[in-house]
């Protein structure tokens, strides 16, 4: 049961989240935080809103596992992921990944690791609405390459290596 992962429709206050992450831990020397936001343009058209769907039960569990993996690889003291779902407007905040560590190198790396992992393995799907209509965003093969950089072979956007039986 976690204060590490929050999936919810409401916006978050990054400053408050970071303060909570650091609170009471005198060993923290660095906090690295990433915020993802809704773009306001897509394919030449202006984005009016975005719908974020997710797989309840799997979403939380998968991100918890990613945080466990981050603790295994990096020397970090605390981590928090907040990801919004539901209907968001252009320029709104979508996701926060914050990592606390004794030193900045590990904090930066763990934060980037979690973002690369989340972008390719966490069950969210974005649907953008523009004046031309609504369309599901395509996953990027480039993100798979980012995950491979960490030595993780799981694929997302690419076709599987071997055909199924």
């Amino acid at each position: 049961m976690s204060a590490r992962v929050s999936i919810r429709p409401d916006d978050f206050d990054a400053g408050a989240e970071i303060a909570a992450l650091r609170a009471g831990d005198g060993g923290v020397g660095a906090v690295a935080a990433f915020i993802g936001t809704v773009r306001n343009r897509s394919g030449g058209a202006e984005i009016a809103s975005m719908e974020l769907e997710h797989y309840p039960g799997m979403t939380e569990a998968s991100i918890e596992a990613m945080i466990d993996a981050a603790f295994g690889r990096f020397d970090i003291r605390a981590a928090r992921v907040v990801h919004r779902v539901g209907r968001l407007a252009a320029n709104e905040q979508i996701v926060l990944v914050a990592v606390a560590s004794a030193h900045r190198g590990q904090a930066f790396q763990a934060c980037e690791f979690l973002m690369d992992y989340l972008k390719t393995q966490a069950p969210f799907w974005k649907k953008e609405s523009t004046s031309a209509g609504a369309r599901w965003v395509d996953a990027r093969v480039a993100d798979d390459a980012a995950l491979a950089r960490w030595g993780i072979e799981a694929v997302n956007a690419s076709m599987p290596a071997e055909p199924s039986s």
């Binding site: 390719t120 393995q121 069950p123 799907w125 199924s164």
Partner: protein, 83 residues
């Protein structure tokens, strides 16, 4: 063997959110996908091998070679686009 199947995103829009499927004998996720595709129509368009899809067994991402058990929950969905 009965499993619960859940669909998400564009797959859900085409096929609905969930259904229970009777698979007969032992099978893996890939065999389930093939069985659903064999229904033709929207199922073939949405789940056919020409489409890149990801799958989860009991809410953990899995390869299609993973074996299924009675009462499992299987998810089929497009590549994820969170973050």
């Amino acid at each position: 063997m009965k499993v619960d199947v859940r669909y998400f995103a564009s797959v859900r829009e085409a096929l609905g959110a969930a259904e229970t499927v009777d698979l007969g004998a032992t099978a893996d996720v890939g065999a389930l996908r093939d069985m659903l595709t064999a229904r033709g129509g929207r199922y073939a368009e949405t789940l056919g091998r020409h489409r890149v899809l990801r799958s989860a067994r009991n809410r953990v991402l899995c390869a299609e070679s993973v074996a299924l058990a009675e009462g499992d929950e299987v998810g089929f969905f497009p590549p994820v686009t969170g973050g």
